[in-house]
């Protein structure tokens, strides 16, 4: 079921790979959301709140703009 992707792209998938193939569940637990939400963020079907975005960046120890890019 397709949809025009949201304008905020992200590098979460590659960052997970760089961090020892971190699973979506581990990331979800670390940032306090469900695995389905991590899947939706990676697929650009959901743009997270600023708070969750910062939590994701902190898990990967990267600045926010390295994790999320505005493509609109």
């Amino acid at each position: 079921m397709g949809k025009t992707k949201l304008p905020i792209d992200n590098s979460i998938r590659s960052l997970r790979a760089q961090h020892g193939e971190m699973t979506q569940q581990v990331l979800a637990d670390a940032i306090g959301v469900t695995r389905q939400t991590v899947i939706a963020i990676e697929a650009r079907k959901y743009s997270p709140s600023l708070e969750v975005a910062f939590r994701i960046a902190r898990v990967f120890d990267e600045p926010l703009e390295s994790v999320f890019q505005y493509t609109g």
């Binding site: 079921m1 306090g32 959301v33 389905q36 079907k45």
Partner: protein, 139 residues
Amino acid sequence: MNAGFEEKSAWVQFGALVLVLGSYFLAATKMYSAGVNDIRAYVPVFSISVVLLVVTLIAGNIVAIATSKSDQADERDRMIAWRSEYLSSWVMGLGIIGAITAMVFKINTVLIAHGLLASLLLSTLLCMGLRILFYRRGV
């Protein structure tokens, strides 16, 4: 199905409402066509439908819990719930306005009651349908 509890629960509610209250409306339509104009005659059928609905929802949600990881609802779940409720609430409002209008024109109580019930059902179905859509397509 790669879905969390909230999405599975939306499917359960959608299915149970269509199945149980859909059956009730079929039965009520037959009764009304047969000339039953006393609202009290519908109460036993409706009561059975409500019990069946509750049992179906409990059973369905037990299955949804059993097949889902025990995740709490998060910000995405809350946004989807809020947006689907916001977009579906007008159906119930329309039903209430319709019922008030029907009262002004002294339309049969059976029709007013079922019109209100139908607007509640359609509003909830729209809400659950939108919830499922947002989970599948994104929000």
